[in-house]
């Protein structure tokens, strides 16, 4: 029986807020920058405790990224905060030149990523950000799965020298990773060991995949579940080790198929071990207004989509 200890229900953005607050206490070089979304990003605690190290930029994201890059000259470790849409697409060229190409120690922290931003609709529901960020040389891309892991990831990236994109979200979701679990950038977590299919997921889709694994188990399917919290650098070894056993893969993410985790995994498989793969991700369309869970269902990134993809990929393997 698949069972996970649940440590409560919270949003991943709150994990970022707590992680940043802890960094404020232990690392005097950490500074925070926010573009008029301090409450939404849960940066208020850091702001309150470190007023000299918090910079309210206003609604001027390009200036925020440029300033963050400039702050690294002098040894600061800037954490920028705004919605994922305004953290990436709006400021892509600023990130490209002043952060990635210049290889500056900036942490771009992005909340409200993907469809689960919900009612605000497609203008704010970015589904292309992982792709944009992973294409940039020097940039690490991290998508933690729950509150605890987002907190640990926030703390861990302060010790990683170089640009990082940290992506998290708004909805309240179950917490299933341990509060003190060490976060290692680039090292995947194998959550379930199984033999019939490998499911590789990131972000909110890790919980959906746990639920899917339970349903599959009830049908006699043995699932190996990997939480791929770091999209770049990708843990190729973990993928190949698992796939050598299961011979088929489902990837699951709250992102476009194009540019996402699934595409990165497909690249690894194509080069090393060609096996069937199915993609649970948004297929070349914008979102719309709705509750987070309604949207996940409508756009095909819910528990049942993971189940269907697993059964399909196993059938392809056995065909």
């Amino acid at each position: 029986m698949i069972e996970f200890e649940i440590f409560g229900n919270k949003d991943t953005r709150s994990g970022f807020g707590e992680g940043l607050q802890e960094l404020g206490k232990k690392n005097p070089n950490v500074v925070g920058l926010c573009a008029d979304l301090t409450g939404s990003l849960k940066m208020d605690a850091f702001q309150k405790e470190n007023p000299d190290r918090f910079f309210q930029i206003g609604i001027a994201e390009a200036n925020m990224i440029g300033m963050a890059a400039g702050m690294t000259v002098g040894g600061k470790i800037p954490f920028t905060g705004t919605f994922a849409n305004f953290s990436t697409g709006r400021v892509y060229d600023q990130i490209r030149q002043s952060v990635a190409y210049s290889n500056k120690n900036v942490k771009i922290c992005a909340s409200h990523a993907g469809l689960t931003l919900g009612e605000d609709g497609a203008t704010h529901q970015i589904l292309e950000d992982i792709g944009m960020m992973k294409m940039l040389p020097n940039m690490a891309v991290i998508v933690p799965c729950d509150f605890n892991q987002t907190k640990q990831a926030t703390i861990a990236i302060a010790d990683h020298e170089g640009p990082v994109y940290l992506r998290f979200g708004r909805p309240v979701m179950p917490i299933f990773t341990k509060p003190d679990a060490e976060f290692v950038i680039g090292k995947a977590d194998v959550l379930l060991e199984g033999t019939d299919v490998t499911i590789i997921a990131c972000g909110h889709l890790v919980w959906k995949s746990i639920e899917a694994a339970k349903k599959l188990e009830a049908q006699g399917v043995s699932v190996e579940l990997i939480n791929m919290h770091t999209i770049k650098p990708l843990d190729t070894e973990a993928i190949l080790k698992s796939v050598a056993k299961t011979k088929c893969v489902v990837t699951a993410e709250e992102h476009m198929i194009a540019g996402g985790l699934g595409e990165s995994v497909a690249q690894v498989l194509t080069r090393n071990l060609l096996v069937p793969q199915e993609f649970v991700a948004v297929d070349d369309t914008f979102g719309e207004s709705g509750t987070p869970m309604e949207l996940m269902t409508k756009y095909g990134i819910d528990t049942d989509n993971v189940v269907a993809a697993a059964l399909k990929v196993i059938a392809r393997k056995n065909a």
């Binding site: 500074v31 000299d52 190290r53 910079f55 930029i57 206003g58 001027a60 390009a62 200036n63 925020m64 990224i65 440029g66 300033m67 963050a68 890059a69 400039g70 702050m71 690294t72 000259v73 002098g74 040894g75 600061k76 800037p78 060229d93 600023q94 490209r96 030149q97 002043s98 190409y101 210049s102 290889n103 500056k104």
Partner: protein
């Protein structure tokens, strides 16, 4: 430093610029020649800096960012002549494997450069970041930037301008290369800046003006800007220059923004500029 000596350095920098762009038949001589006198005064008279032991963090040093990165030949020459790296390396400009990339970069580790630039409009924000870092570090040195006038058409410049005044940033001195030209022609025709002094004043900056080709005036204005810093307001200098300054057939025309002289034109240009410190 004596004005005469600064003029001698500037003459050599102009020769370097022309020889660098001619050697690879690419690069941006117009704006480079126009900003030579300013950068010479900045590096040889105004800034406190350590060419012999460059550090990325620049603690205790004044820092300069070139926001209009396309005039890199001028910056590279000034950096080399100031002692950041051997002048012989100027001969590698824009060639495969060089540290002197077409636009300034940090990935090749060229001493003197702390941020890539080229895509316009980003340098003022970067300067504000470093200025904030200096304040947190208790470092009272100043951050200098240079911008093209055409570059002011980028919206990010005005985001940064608004931030600086609202937050009383007073350890940044920005300079505008006000030559009135950009790639497609006169700035007034492409997209007029209107009342530029009035715009900066409305954004809350102290505005100074200077002739960018009179060494004494640059020295005096930079000293005034420095004296005005530390008082709760950012300072900008609108610097009147001529694109192509120092070469009679290049001066005042946008046509030499991004075009290199051919061998005959190079010989003609060099004949107008004394070789004072020895060509690289």
């Amino acid at each position: 430093m004596e004005t005469l000596e600064l003029e001698r350095i500037a003459s050599q920098v102009r020769r370097d610029i022309l020889r660098m762009v001619a050697a690879v038949n690419s690069g941006h001589p117009g704006g480079s020649l126009g900003c030579t006198d300013f950068a010479t005064v900045l590096y040889f008279e105004v800034m406190k800096h350590n060419p012999a032991s460059f550090s990325m963090d620049g603690i205790g040093e004044d820092i300069f960012y070139l926001s209009n990165g396309h005039i890199s030949p001028m910056w590279y020459s000034v950096l080399a002549r100031a002692g950041y790296f051997p002048t012989a390396e100027l001969g590698t400009f824009r060639k495969l494997g060089t540290r002197l990339q077409g636009h300034p970069s940090t990935d090749k580790k060229l001493p003197g450069i702390r941020m890539a630039s080229g895509s316009l409009g980003q340098g003022l924000s970067v300067a504000l970041g470093t200025a904030a870092s200096k304040k947190l570090n208790g470092d009272d040195r100043i951050v200098y930037t240079l911008h093209g006038d055409g570059e002011l058409q980028e919206g990010q410049i005005w985001e940064a301008a608004m931030y600086a005044a609202a937050n009383k940033v007073d350890n940044v001195i920005a300079t505008i290369d006000y030559n009135g030209r950009q790639i497609d022609g006169d700035v007034d025709q492409v997209l007029s800046l209107g009342n530029l002094r009035g715009k900066w004043e409305a954004f809350g900056w102290i505005v100074l003006e200077m002739d960018g080709h009179r060494i004494d005036e640059i020295k005096a204005t930079m000293a005034e800007a420095k004296a005005l810093s530390g008082n709760g307001k950012p300072v900008v200098i609108i610097m009147k220059t001529e694109m192509g300054q120092g070469v009679d057939f290049m001066i005042g025309s946008h046509k030499w923004h991004g075009v290199a002289p051919n061998p005959e034109q190079l010989a003609n240009a060099l004949s107008q500029l004394p070789e004072t410190l020895g060509d690289y």
